[in-house]
């Protein structure tokens, strides 16, 4: 009995052990990916009306020079109602973009791939998948029901460009270790030699020789010009033979063409291209091998999915910090003494959830700084108080507004937290001293009183203004005559206002401007208003009005904008909504385009404008500190004419496209 139990236990353990050993893992999105996107195909596919979209896509592909390769884009073998995964990453030498998707008709998909792949390229078959190079550096691999599109670009890191250290090529790290040996030997022809001072002297001498050549050329040119000056002083004109200048310059060009150096350069380029292709192919194969030997699920690190909403149509994560700091700017800031400040500033990530709702397109963005302390101080800025006076300026009759209710005083904390730890090693003490000095010099409270963080910009309307211009008219003998004509242009009528707790400060500034000898010509005081007059014909704004009233500084294009206006119920609702958020705004694009009406003159412009104006919607925007992030929601509210907001865009584009096409077809008179 004991032995039976022991045997059973042994078998169970073995089976369990095997399961553990052979269980396939999911495909992990690399933790250093700078971009990750999930496309919720199921939701999007339900929103796309293929019968409407196909003809449009077909029309568009007709316009490309190549023959249309596909007729029905809804049948490519790709399962459109499944989730698609995209991610991109880069290091010092390799940039990749990968897309993972499901296929529901392998034959159809293969047909589709054949129609888009480069001619003459054959499909390579591996044990568990097939793949083909559809274009330089773009590979697609598939098995029965999954496919991967992988785009790889390789740049050999060059020494001395930014980096003075020995160049290490991350390809060896990024590719499979077995492949890496083959990959890295490709560039083995340039071993790093020890410093040879004799060779360096030789190189420097060559440089001098090269520079001397330039000096010679410049001296010759100077002598030529001096000769010309003397000739002009004496004869007041150029010598005859000097008039034809250009052939001389043209004759210099052939020096470089068809030379040995040119051929050698071409050869070098060809070999670089060939070797680069080998590397990217190896890399893509490595990626495909890993994917098709996994359980075919794609799994992103938790950190990337922190703000993902499973109900969104598209989710995007970007590692902004890495894109900037590891990209070219990062290399720049690394060599600045205080470059770490910028590195601290950018060290953040953005997540986006996009929704194509029935009545609006909604984009929710979450910004998060990677440093929790810095994030905390940024969030504290977004916790301001409301200002009733400013909110009264919100009016539904206006074209749009942008309101701000932030905590100005907290901006200093953000600045200090960015400076904190930004001095590396030897500059640490200096940075701390700078911060301390700033704290002493800056009276944060007093500064915050000047502008506390509440402000609003209201675009009340776009007014028509008559401007005069000069044109030429001709009599019957075509003698020209200058005539004055007029035309209408659109000018903005706006109000910019911000709250202050120190009215006296602003009044003193305006007084100074009005009494200053140089500025008084333009800046003057009339009653309660200070006015600034622009130059004659100085652009869209003729006059600006400034005033300080009830703790608010106003800057307006018209003095009437300060007069109290009765807010309608909608306006009050908007004002109430605006009071809740640190940043919020609205823009009625239809009103904006109506105001700009006079700017569109040609029949073609007018037709396009009409097509847009008929369907264009309204933008709404709000930002707040939410959880450990700054969340911004942007809504584009559509007109009811389309089945949903996704098809709305296609309908709108279709209409504009048709307008454009009909213009092309109409005969030229």
């Amino acid at each position: 009995m004991k032995s039976i139990l022991f045997k059973t236990q042994k078998i169970i353990l073995l089976i369990f052990g095997f399961t553990l050993v052979f269980a396939q893992n999911s495909m992990k999105v690399p933790g250093d990916a700078v971009f990750y996107m999930e496309v919720n195909g199921k939701q999007l596919n339900n929103k796309i009306n293929w019968t409407k979209l196909n003809p449009l896509l077909h029309e568009l592909s007709k316009k490309t020079k190549e023959k249309p390769s596909w007729t029905d884009y809804s049948k490519t073998g790709i399962k459109y109602d499944a989730v698609q995964y995209h991610y991109a990453s880069f290091n010092d030498s390799i940039k990749t973009y990968n897309t993972h998707f499901i296929i529901d008709n392998k034959e159809k998909f293969q047909e589709f791939v054949n129609s888009v792949k480069k001619k003459g390229l054959e499909v390579s078959r591996k044990s568990n998948y097939s793949y083909v190079d559809i274009n330089d550096g773009a590979f697609v691999a598939w098995n029965g029901n999954r496919a991967v599109l992988s785009m790889v670009s390789y740049t050999k890191p060059y020494k001395n460009l930014w980096n003075i250290e020995a160049v290490t090529d991350s390809v060896s790290v990024a590719t499979d270790s077995a492949d890496a040996v083959a990959v890295d030997t490709v560039y083995a022809e340039e071993p790093i030699k020890p410093f040879d001072y004799k060779e360096e002297i030789k190189n420097l001498k060559d440089d001098i020789k090269y520079l001397k050549e330039n000096i010679k050329e410049n001296n010759l040119e100077i002598a030529k010009i001096q000769k010309d000056i003397k000739y002009l002083q004496k004869h007041h004109k150029y010598p005859k033979e000097k008039e034809e200048v250009s052939p001389e310059y043209e004759a210099e060009e052939p020096e470089y063409t068809d030379s040995e150096a040119d051929k050698a350069y071409q050869k070098e380029q060809d070999s670089i291209r060939k070797e680069n292709y080998k590397i990217v192919k190896k890399y893509a194969e490595g990626h495909f091998d890993r994917y098709f030997s996994s359980n075919l699920d794609v799994e992103a690190p938790k950190e990337m999915l922190k703000f993902r909403d499973l109900n969104s149509d598209v989710f995007v994560y970007t590692d902004y910090g890495r894109i900037v700091n590891e990209g070219i700017y990062g290399k720049m800031t690394k060599y600045y003494t205080y470059g770490q400040i910028f590195r601290n500033m950018y060290n953040s990530n953005y997540s986006y959830n996009l929704y194509f709702d029935k009545d609006k397109v909604r984009l929710i963005n979450n910004y998060q700084h990677k440093d929790a302390e810095i994030q905390k101080s940024i969030s504290s800025v977004y916790k301001g108080k409301k200002n009733k006076k400013l909110l009264e300026l919100i009016n539904e009759k206006s074209v749009g507004y942008y309101a701000m209710n932030v905590n100005g005083a907290k901006c200093f904390d953000v600045m200090y937290s960015l400076l904190q730890n930004s001095g590396e090693h030897e500059y640490r003490k200096e940075m701390e001293l700078i911060m301390e000095t700033m704290r002493i010099v800056l009276d944060e409270e007093a500064i915050a009183k000047i502008a506390s963080g509440n402000g609003i910009f209201v675009l009340n309307e776009l007014k028509s203004k008559t401007v005069e211009y000069t044109d030429y008219e001709y009599d019957e003998d075509f003698n020209s005559k200058e005539v004055k004509k007029t035309k209408e242009i659109a000018v903005p009528n706006f109000t910019f206002a911000f709250a202050t707790e120190n009215e006296g400060y602003w009044n003193r500034i305006f007084d100074l401007l009005a009494t200053n000898k140089k500025l008084a010509k333009r800046f003057s005081k009339k009653g309660n208003f200070y006015t600034f007059k622009g130059e004659k014909n100085g652009g869209y704004i003729d006059q600006l009005f400034f005033t300080v009233k009830d703790g608010v500084v106003y800057l307006m294009s018209s003095a009437d904008n300060i007069l109290p206006v009765n807010q309608s119920d909608i306006s009050r609702k908007w004002a109430k909504d605006s009071a809740k958020y640190p940043l919020s705004g609205r823009l009625d694009i239809q009103k904006l385009l109506t105001g700009l009406d006079k700017e569109f003159k040609s029949p073609s412009e007018r037709r396009t404008l009409d097509a847009i104006r008929k369907n264009v919607g309204e933008l709404y925007y709000k930002t707040e500190a939410k959880g450990e992030s700054i969340q911004t929601e942007m809504n584009y509210i559509i007109k009811d004419s389309s089945e949903n907001s996704l098809m709305y865009f296609f309908d709108l584009f279709d209409q504009i496209f048709k307008t454009k096409e009909s213009e092309k077809k109409s005969p030229i008179l």
Partner: protein, 260 residues
């Protein structure tokens, strides 16, 4: 032995390779949408919106020639951007537009004065006058010539001194007293240069107009280009064209005029 040329080439090779790699990436990113036709066409559709985003400026060029029977005459060129003066006044306050530096008033004045200086030094050209009205954005240059080919020489000089762009034609006129003819030469196409321009730069030409006036002491017997309007007294010709039509050669500028 290292040759400087080779050294230059080596540097170029590195640069070209780097540029190529960025181009490759761009190409590959565009390839990414190969399997995503919806996205590809969505982007293309979006481009249709672009013209609305640029509110174009417009300008007119007026080119006047007054030719006497003995071949002497007067030449005037006027750049009139008065219709866009409000927009230009705003642009003038900016540092850059479309990624290009906005020239200062003084820089424009210097260029015009430099052009006038070169014209003055051109044999056969006299009485060079310039006028610059920065309130209305109208620039004028006029001069007298002994024979009309002097203008070609003047323009050629401006081009070699890089005051005029390489796109501007210089060999414009030829006059023959014996044959009693004036030829307005064919202008080579700028289409290739125009195509290379950015979308925003191209927009500048959308509403730009060109007017050519030619007035003569002699009576016109015939002309080869009917796009030029002949005045009732048969002593003047006028051509109105959109600059874009001339660039794309939808309208021709060449004309051979025979006098009685």
């Amino acid at each position: 032995m290292k040759f400087p040329v080779l050294k230059k080439y080596r540097k170029t090779a590195i640069y070209t390779q780097k540029t190529k790699d960025y181009k490759d990436l761009r190409l590959e990113l565009s390839n990414f949408v190969v399997l995503n036709p919806v996205m590809k066409n969505f982007l293309r559709l979006f481009l249709l919106f672009a013209p609305l985003l640029f509110l174009t400026s417009c300008f007119d060029i007026l080119d006047k020639v007054n030719l006497k029977a003995d071949g002497t005459g007067e030449y005037t060129i006027i750049l009139n951007a008065s219709k866009s003066k409000t927009r230009l006044a705003s642009i003038a306050k900016m540092e850059t537009i479309n990624g290009k530096k906005v020239p200062q008033k003084s820089e424009i004045e210097n260029k015009i004065n430099e052009a006038a200086k070169i014209f003055r030094a051109t044999p056969g050209i006299s009485n060079v006058k310039t006028s610059m009205d920065f309130d209305n954005y109208i620039l004028k240059l006029s001069c007298n010539f002994k024979n009309i080919e002097n203008i070609n020489a003047g323009l050629e000089k401006l081009k070699s001194q890089k005051i005029l762009g390489k796109m501007v034609p210089t060999q414009i006129y030829s006059h023959s007293a014996e044959k009693k003819s004036l030829t307005r030469n064919k202008v080579s196409t700028f289409k290739a240069d125009y195509d290379k321009m950015s979308k925003a730069d191209k927009e500048i030409f959308n509403d730009a107009k060109y007017t050519s006036i030619m007035q003569f002491e002699n009576t016109v017997k015939s002309q080869t280009n009917s796009a030029y309007l002949l005045s009732p007294n048969k002593k003047a010709l006028k051509l109105d064209a959109n600059i874009l039509d001339l660039i794309l050669q939808k309208k021709q500028i060449q004309n051979t005029i025979l006098f009685q």
